[in-house]
Symmetry: C2
DNA sequence: TTCAGATATACATAAATTGTATAGGAGAAA
DNA sequence: TTTCTCCTATACAATTTATGTATATCTGAA
């Protein structure tokens, strides 16, 4: 009764493909093939029918799948119970984060965590907003740090701090030489924007429409590095948060001006996966993140 | 959540000693030590307190032990369910057997089993009567083949066939030259008998007392091989069943005479462990054993 | 303080797991 | 039907992991 192998079995039953399971688990396809073979050897019967286009549960496989599902759930429940009972946060916590906030916030979190809870292991995946949300829903990350637009937290989200939006250009650009720039000035300005679908992109378009401003998406790029370099070359502008500006400034000589009238505000939020197991380790990481996100600490790190 | 490791944990909690667990599992002590260490690493807390005279559960260990016990039970339950659902007998079946009946009965069983149910793996342990009963009670064997004296089966035992008792001597001995020998003739005869405690030994003594015969235990030996060789050297007699006689005859030149007036009868019985899991494999093995024990087949193999 | 009995560690060896490359098959499309 | 494509299974080499032996270390008892 190998827990990992049976979890693979359940995944394979769901995906209908060993290759996809291999990708999802970050391993090779032959490996999955062997694990399933071993399970079948131990059971004395075929669990899957190989169809040349993937795998499908046999009648036997379908019969045991629900029992296995229940057992896997109870096993993970027990693992959590034990770790909770130990009183020491331990285990792996997976965080999905925006590239811009990964550093320095998560760097600080990591250092602090190592000191306070050395047994907690952090896994950080970087991604764009929509992808991080997908990860959260799938349960492939436990926590996420992302932008929220709504002024009030919901779904158990915790708002860490607000993030105004800056118009970013190459150094020396007259438009961004002042401390602030009005939203209306964005009209027909060549912008590099994030690819759709993006909640942030939608929000920008909405605000623009409300103010009769037409956004000119000269380029769509999800890569922050690419946005940065394009903007650095001059003649094109980006709309970024403070972290992204700070990070980008280390690479190119840039100049940023705060967007006002209206200010476009986002919130950096800490979100939990709805499928999340609320382990001690997870709680500890959340606690540390909130501590590290205190404004005074942030200022010191910025 | 490694099932095997947690079973070791439970055993260690019961025995209070890693060394004993190692012996019971047929592995080395450092191995057990490492498994426990790994469990403790994964849990984030000490499960055992090392006392210099073994190990004792910590408060934490005591707290998780019942949950682990329940989970281990449910896991094994599931394993059985799955194998039963497969419809194919599979898995390991452990049989405790008397040395005398291990061959040829179990040899035949093994061959037949391999043909009918190739996925069933047999583990045969040989031992004396009392030890086999211990194994049955402990659950360290699933099935046992042993002697029963009572004329009627009980406890779910299945009687395979009757086994009369023979007086065995070296070849050429006048006392055993006839086909039968009367019980009364055993009086003061130098005998090699099985060690106490032994149900068989007790039964012999009882019968002897009832007939006013005094048994002379010139030697007590549980080893069948030793009994055989001693008897083969002459001047001393043994009381054995037909299988033992047949097996011994292949080693030494012996002569056997059936004990009568009264005949002392035992039954070769198939017993199940009270803690036994009635798997398909176990049922298959029992079926095959009963088939192989049919008198006509036995005669052909004798 | 010494001794007996137990667990932990070091290291060499044996075994298993894993990934890459490749072969073999079953459906889909022409 | 035939070809093509996508997927699973197998061979093999390299690495990692697990295991046993010998030994060190520790704790409680006399």
């Amino acid at each position: 009764m190998d827990l990992a192998a049976w979890k693979v079995f359940l995944d394979a039953a769901e995906f209908g493909s060993l290759s996809k399971v291999a990708t999802a688990h970050g391993t090779s396809q032959p490996q999955i093939s062997r694990w399933i073979r071993d399970l079948e050897r131990d059971c004395g019967g075929r669990l899957f029918q190989r169809t040349g286009r993937g795998v499908a549960l046999t009648e036997f496989g379908a019969r045991v799948a629900p029992k296995v599902r229940a057992w896997v759930a109870s096993s993970e429940q027990l693992a959590n119970d034990i770790r909770t009972a130990s009183g020491t946060p331990i285990g792996n916590v997976r965080i999905g984060s925006l590239p811009s906030t990964a550093h320095p916030l998560l760097t600080t979190v990591f250092m602090r965590l190592k000191k306070l809870y050395p047994l907690v292991q952090l896994t950080v995946r970087e991604g764009q907003g929509a992808q991080i949300e997908t990860w959260l829903d799938e349960g492939s990350v436990d926590l996420a740090i992302l932008f929220r637009i709504s002024p009030k937290p919901k779904d158990g989200d915790i708002y860490l701090f607000g993030a105004p939006t800056y118009l970013v250009s190459a150094a020396g650009d007259p438009l961004t030489s002042r401390a602030t720039v009005e939203f209306a000035e964005l009209d027909r300005l060549p912008l590099v924007l994030f690819c759709r679908p993006s909640g942030w992109r939608n929000h920008l378009e909405e605000v623009a429409a409300k103010h009769g401003v037409s956004l000119n998406a000269a380029l769509e790029a999800d890569s922050l590095g690419m946005q940065t370099n394009i903007v650095g070359a001059g003649g094109i502008y980006a709309l970024l948060g403070p972290y992204a500006v700070a990070a980008a400034s280390r690479t190119c000589r840039l100049q940023a001006s705060k967007l006002v009238a209206p200010t476009v505000h986002r919130h950096v939020a800490l979100a939990m996966s709805p499928r999340g197991k609320s382990t001690l380790a997870c709680q500890a990481v959340m606690r540390v993140i909130r501590e590290c996100a205190k404004p005074d600490l942030m200022a010191a790190n910025r």
